[in-house]
Amino acid sequence: MTRATGPARLRPALRAPAATRGNALPAGAWWLWALGLATAASRTTNPLLLGLLVGVAGYVVAARRTDAPWARSYGAFIKLGLFVVAVRLVFTVFLGSPLPGTHTLFTVPEVPLPDWAQGVRIGGRVTAEQVVFALYEGAKLATLLICVGAANSLANPARLLKSLPGALYEVGVAVVVAMTFAPNMVADVARLRTARRLRGRPTGGVRAVLQIGLPVLEGALERSVAVAASMDARGYGRTAQVPPAVRRTTHVLTLGGLLGVCAGTYGLLAAQGGVHGLPLLLAGLVAAGAGLRLGGRRTVRTRYRPDRWGLRAWLVAGSGASVAVLMIWAGAADPEALRPGVLPLTAPVLPLWPAAAVLIGLLPAAVAPLPPSSSDSKEHA
């Protein structure tokens, strides 16, 4: 429990409490924080700032993630980010880039293409400017992914669903159960591959995959049916009797609201009709919201210990939002610093104030409740 992280040095009263069910941060707060960082990342290509953002997200994840299965996804997102950077580089090298440049690094033999493929180039000169530009763009995308990964490993996906309106909750449960389908299938594949070994067959190769496929699908299907039976026997989908008038109003409101949202969005995006676009959209949203609320009357469900949005949640969400706002503002005030020049090549410098703004994103590592350390729960494993 006594981990020597930042909070340990604060005064005891300010120190983050141990995480329990009662003070758990709402999943939404983590997502707002992560989306704030992601927004900030989308505003800059400065590799130093991007690196700082990844570092901030990584530090918070390391300080506040739990032992839960979803918490292990962070590493996968980092790998995905590196993969994105690599793909971006490979494309630049082999397919060329519209960017000119003077510092030729090397030349890939160019494939002569017929006239109709004008504008497409395969191979050719690769310049340092092109490579650096590709690296910057790739790093931006990778940082966005890593921010999403951070939210994924810090917030419990099932809790996020608990914040859905009542009328959508049942759908939400179905989605969660469906999502467990994938990890279970992965486990099944591992088990059946082991079983193949027991019968003296090689575990790799196309044949193995084909032979395992059917039993895996069968197993997954059987498990789904079993879960459905269990859910049914435990009262899933019990509905209350509502008067027909209410039911009809619900339908009208929901359908009308959705139509309004569609028409309003179209109005906003289309060249003409910008005048009634916004009011239509708002009216549609209100109607759809009212429809969902009324629809919630049909379900008898109640919520067990919903997450409370307290001061710590505000601080976590707010820190992400302020990083985003400050970065957008910095982008307007000093665009050069956030987008270091590629033509001509210049070394990126770390702009002081935006960097300080990014560091605000570290706040959750101090204020979010501290999950129990892994050694505490190991004895049961």
Binding site: R199, P202, Q211, S230, D232, T302, Y304, H380
Partner: protein, 571 residues
Amino acid sequence: MIRFEQVSVRYDGAERPTLSGVDLTIPEGELVLAVGPSGVGKSTLLGAVSGLVPHFTGGVLSGRVVVGGRDTSTHKPRELADLVGTVGQDPLAHFVTDTVEDELAYGMESLGLAPDVMRRRVEETLDLLGLAELRDRPIATLSGGQRQRVAIGSVLTPHPRVLVLDEPTSALDPAAAEDVLAVLQRLVHDLGTTVLMAEHRLERVVQYADQVLLLPAPGAAPVLGAPADVMALSPVRPPVVDLGRLVGWDPLPLSVRDARRRAVDLRERLADVDPPERGIPAGAAPAPLPGPAAPRPGLLGRLLGRRPAPAPAPAPVAGVVTRAEGVGVRHGRVQALRGVTLSVAPGETVALMGRNGAGKSTLLSTLVGTVRPSTGSVLVGGLQPSGTPPRDMVRRVGLVPQEPRDLLYADTVAAECAAADSDAGASEGSCRALVSELLPGVPDGVHPRDLSEGQRLALALALVLTARPPLLLLDEPTRGLDYAAKARLVGVLRRLAAEGHAIVLATHDVELAAELADRVVILADGEVVADGPTRQVVVSSPAFAPQTAKILAPRQWLTVSQVRGALEGLA
């Protein structure tokens, strides 16, 4: 509380009804145990109470099932959810949410109970089932016994008046089973809950039952009565009842305590007889390795022109089939095995015991080569299992996994056997002959999924034995088997041991270990804590002693058949 009126259930495509003419009444606050051989419709009977039969499973139910005044034909399972709590055979298939506390609350949320009521009941249930320390844990990280308790807790929170449980203790180690049964006992006595449960491991549960519901044969009318009366005519019975019937006690004792009181003369009669020693049968030689069949290259191998590598010559087996020395295995942060040393001689049967998660399955996986030890060495038939290609390993060691179904891919029994013959390089028809030898009457054209548990186990065992491995490993082989199927399995394994196969079985079934094993190895936390002849290890342990040993302690009798032999010798 539960009333069946002339109930028959017939599934689509079935030749005969699974249940017929069931007519019974179960009063409130009773713990009723449904017993019978496998395949007599116990699960169907339980499903009819919760309404899952026929609303969920299909099939036709005639007659009436009334639970707490509600007719299941007009009430769907979800409308019975506040009245009946159901836990199926596999607790994992029961969970909807991902943490313990949410799971306990899920049923109440569906019923729309007020938040403060939910909170109170969750706390009460956490205490009742001893789950308070696990409340925030993800369900995926729980052990078998903990999962079973969470599953029971999750149906308890809506305060159902009827609890239906299908094999609640089969997958559990003896101590965890005791925990679960103590909870059920408390529910019946303190809350007046009506409990209806099916269980094959009668030695664990029959003493707790108020009434026993016997389904003697498929389609036969069920018998409901006092446990002692029903046990007297039941085809399935625990060792304590078997012993009682052998000696002729009346009324039959159901618990070890009752039996011990009656057994004073029996102990005197047996005072001068020594329990038979079971040693390694003399003259047992290791099963000969089949000649190395040339492996055929796969499609890719043929495309790349790969020549099959010559199979390495089998190393001579010197006295032991397998030797594991100082084996350690890590799963992530968990040290699953720590310095385990074990050697098994030909013809020897070793039982691995220990609580859920003690490392039994990991040890078997290490022996068969699917898990590579991080420290120490394992040799099976002179080879390192994890570094040897599966095709060579299969002729040295065979494992029947916990779920025999994992071994089966083909869509008929015949195709499965043909595949096994070619996998093992055995002559055609040898697997099929083994199946018929292990269990006569397994039809050729049936899909392996449609076999009964016992038939499926026999098929998986035959598939593994086709390669005639000198070392045979079984993981929890008696789960879901009735006593008849278990007795057949014991016979088969004894014969294999006599032929010189070394057998290692991981099991929670103390009766099976007592019947079969020459040696018992107890694992705890990945370490060997006891290793010795069955009698010495088992008799002194309260958790692992079989019923016969408990009744006749301090003399070291292990099984009813030993006592029967001794009594016949005296007469």
